[in-house]
């Protein structure tokens, strides 16, 4: 018999961040190594200095079918600059030495497989990553990674959407840790002007009963109104990727977007008095 001692997650860093802030979290996304190793680190520091409550960082991948053109272009820039996965871990290590905020990774499965799943999670633990979402690993294949993630104290994060059935929500609720990534609309990452309103509200109400994890909304979040709609619908945080990535590498523009899309910032409070946390 083979016993695995799980490093029990004594506390969930995302839930703690939420408790500490008392307000929905702002979680910017960047592709590690975009546009190159040095500037990537500067960009991530800019995100932290401009109100990131947690970071969502992607490994550049040659074939990212869950991402739209902006993130794909970021992947291409990073890869063209010669970024390797080892470099991504180096950047993560430096970021972790700067900050205590939760760091999540968003990766494609082949990068995990080719590093070796166990080594991948070991490295994540070594550099202080808190959670990993594998974009192309659905519930069906979750057992290939979840035991190893938990063994190394990394929270396995899963995507949920308006199409996720109740049965799947229950299963995901049992497997997941850290937070759930609630997809705001059906499609790929990008910049949309879709009105989130009703739809996201319904989705969040459906998911809530199946998990006590924080629910972060992402995909297409682009405007103050969308951020507010997500928060009004009960989101515990918003993940903003393409809107920020399209400003790379202008630090000033990135800083502006971060401050503008901060949930519950002054501008937001004026436009709505809805409760921020349900």
């Amino acid at each position: 018999m083979f016993f695995v001692t799980y490093k029990t997650m004594l506390s969930n860093p995302y839930a703690e961040a939420l408790k500490k802030k008392g307000n929905a979290l702002f979680i910017p996304f960047a592709v590690l190594g975009d546009p190159n190793k040095d500037e990537s680190l500067q960009i991530i520091r800019t995100l932290i200095e401009n109100g990131a409550d947690a970071l969502e960082l992607g490994f550049p991948f040659s074939d990212p079918p869950a991402d739209g053109p902006i993130i794909q272009a970021a992947d291409v820039r990073a890869l063209h600059s010669g970024i390797k996965i080892d470099d991504c871990f180096d950047i993560l290590e430096e970021v972790r030495s700067d900050t205590d905020i939760p760091i999540g990774l968003l990766v494609y499965y082949n990068l995990v497989l080719q590093r070796g799943t166990e080594k991948f999670y070991e490295d994540c633990a070594r550099v202080g990553v808190n959670s990993v979402l594998i974009a192309d690993l659905p519930l069906e294949h979750a057992q290939e990674v979840v035991p190893l993630a938990r063994k190394h104290g990394i929270a396995p994060v899963f995507l949920v959407s308006e199409l996720t059935t109740k049965e799947r929500l229950q299963q995901i609720g049992k497997l997941a840790d850290g937070y759930l990534y609630v997809v705001s609309y059906l499609g790929v990452t990008g910049v949309t002007n879709a009105i989130l309103g009703e739809n996201i509200h319904t989705v969040i109400q459906r998911i809530r009963p199946h998990t006590s994890l924080p629910l972060f909304v992402g995909f297409g979040i682009n405007t103050v109104e969308q951020v507010q709609a997500a928060v009004d619908a009960g989101a515990d945080g918003v993940i903003v990727g393409s809107r920020i990535v399209q400003e790379f590498p202008s630090m000033q523009m990135i800083a502006n977007v971060c401050r503008e899309l901060q949930p519950g910032s002054k501008k937001n409070m004026e436009s709505s008095s809805a409760p921020l946390l349900s």
Binding site: F61, S62, D63, P64, P65, A66, G68, P69, Q72, V76, L79, K84, I85, Y108, Y109, N110, L111, L113, Q114, R115, T117, A135, D136, L137, P138, L139, E140, H141, E144, F158, L159, V160, S161, L163, T164, T165, R168, V183, Y185, L186, G187, V188
Partner: protein, 400 residues
């Protein structure tokens, strides 16, 4: 999903070939496709409709042709399975008619497809016209340029051809974009996947609709020669025509199966598309299978004169057949393929597509170990009209 569509036991890395490695957002529609496939694959009414269409619309069964001149030159009986004579000009029609019927049953209002050489796009556009469904075809910008006649055909059938400018601007990028579009439109749209790759259930589903090639050819060989072929040879990009002809012979242990990958400008140059020969297992486009990739797992671009073979991955069942040593995989360069294209055209009066020209070139090498009476069955998966300009340009710059 009812199953994961895995081929064989887990490999040493813990993953079995195949599977369904896609975003959670695609699981509902893939489950829907799987359920429809399981429901209709043994449904007599569906079967009859499919059979009638393949006969009356597409022209099945396609014949087998023994080549008089090449048989003498190669020193064995060289026999072609004539998928080039299928309506649309390639084996793709088998799969598309099957999937379009499924899409109709599922109540989907639009068809989308990726295409490399354009044959799958043409077949899907044709099915769209036949079944009165709007069609969007995703095609790499590089392929649009080199397969121009097929682009024109798709447009004539009324399909919208969407140029894909990302990545290598070829088949793999067309698949990425088709998957992106499908993620956003899965409620109303059916993705007619063109080959035996991609997420479950496509590898099994496409193989199911393509196995008619081998089922017919096996019976035709037995009827005409009273025996099975010594060797069955087919080109492999994603691998649907090869799986289609191999399936019927998998249990005939004495029949050798040879898949032919593109060696492009030469394996040693690195500019090739030999996923099985030179790649290693990984996850691409939803399944775990051999693919061309670097150390980190970044997918590398494939290179081939033939747009239909220009793909860095391969269907997972081929990976399984390779590892189980049931099939052997070899590769043929651009130059060898063009030489075989000319050979068949000039000596037999048949213009093959560049894709199966690879199989003909490989057959010429294999033939040396066969006896005079041995049957060497080659799947002539498509006709070469689409390639004429491309070959003529190649000949201006290269000695063949």
């Amino acid at each position: 999903m009812k199953t994961l569509g895995q081929f064989g036991p887990p490999t040493s890395s813990g993953q079995a070939f195949g599977g369904c490695y896609v975003s959670e957002l695609l699981i509902p529609v893939l489950s829907e496709v799987e359920a429809a496939f399981l429901q209709y694959k043994d449904d007599p009414v569906f079967q009859k409709e499919l059979h009638d269409l393949l006969r009356d619309f597409a022209g099945r069964p396609t014949p087998i042709t023994e080549l008089p001149t090449l048989s003498k030159e190669f020193g064995c009986r060289v026999v072609l399975k004539r998928e080039d004579l299928l309506h649309g000009g390639a084996h793709k029609t088998n799969n598309v008619i099957g999937q379009a019927l499924l899409a109709k049953r599922m109540g989907k209002a639009e068809l989308i497809a990726e295409t490399g050489a354009g044959q799958h796009g043409v077949a899907t556009a044709m099915a769209g016209a036949l079944f009165n469904l709007p069609v969007k075809i995703f095609m790499g910008a590089k392929d649009i340029e080199r397969q121009h006649p097929n682009v024109q055909r798709m447009k004539l059938f009324g399909a919208e051809v969407i140029s894909v400018n990302s990545g290598s601007q070829s088949l793999k990028d067309a698949i990425n974009d088709a998957l992106r579009y499908w993620t956003a439109h899965s409620k109303d749209t059916y993705y007619v996947f063109g080959t035996v790759a991609g997420p479950h259930p496509f590898p099994s589903l496409v193989a199911y609709f393509q196995r008619v090639i081998g089922d017919e050819a096996r019976v035709q060989c037995l009827e005409r020669y009273g025996r099975l072929p010594h060797t069955v040879c087919a080109c492999v990009g994603g691998g649907s025509n090869a799986i289609g002809i191999f399936k019927a012979f998998l249990d005939d242990a004495e029949v050798q199966l040879v898949g032919v990958e593109p060696a492009g400008e030469g394996i040693e140059t690195g500019k090739h598309g030999a996923a099985l020969g030179m790649g290693r297992p990984g996850s691409l486009h939803g399944s775990y299978s051999y693919c061309l990739q670097d150390e980190d797992g970044q997918i590398q671009e494939a290179h081939s004169i033939s747009a239909g073979l220009d793909y860095p991955g391969v269907g997972p069942e081929h990976s399984f057949l390779k590892d189980r040593q049931r099939a052997q995989y070899v590769s043929i360069t651009d130059q060898e393929a063009v030489a075989a294209f000319l050979l068949l055209t000039r000596k037999e009066g048949i213009i093959p597509a560049l894709e199966p020209s690879h199989a003909i070139a490989a057959a010429q090498k294999i033939a040396s170990s066969l006896k005079k009476e041995d049957i060497l069955l080659i799947n002539l998966s498509g006709r070469g009209d689409k390639d004429i300009d491309h070959v003529l340009r190649y000949l201006q710059n290269h000695a063949v």
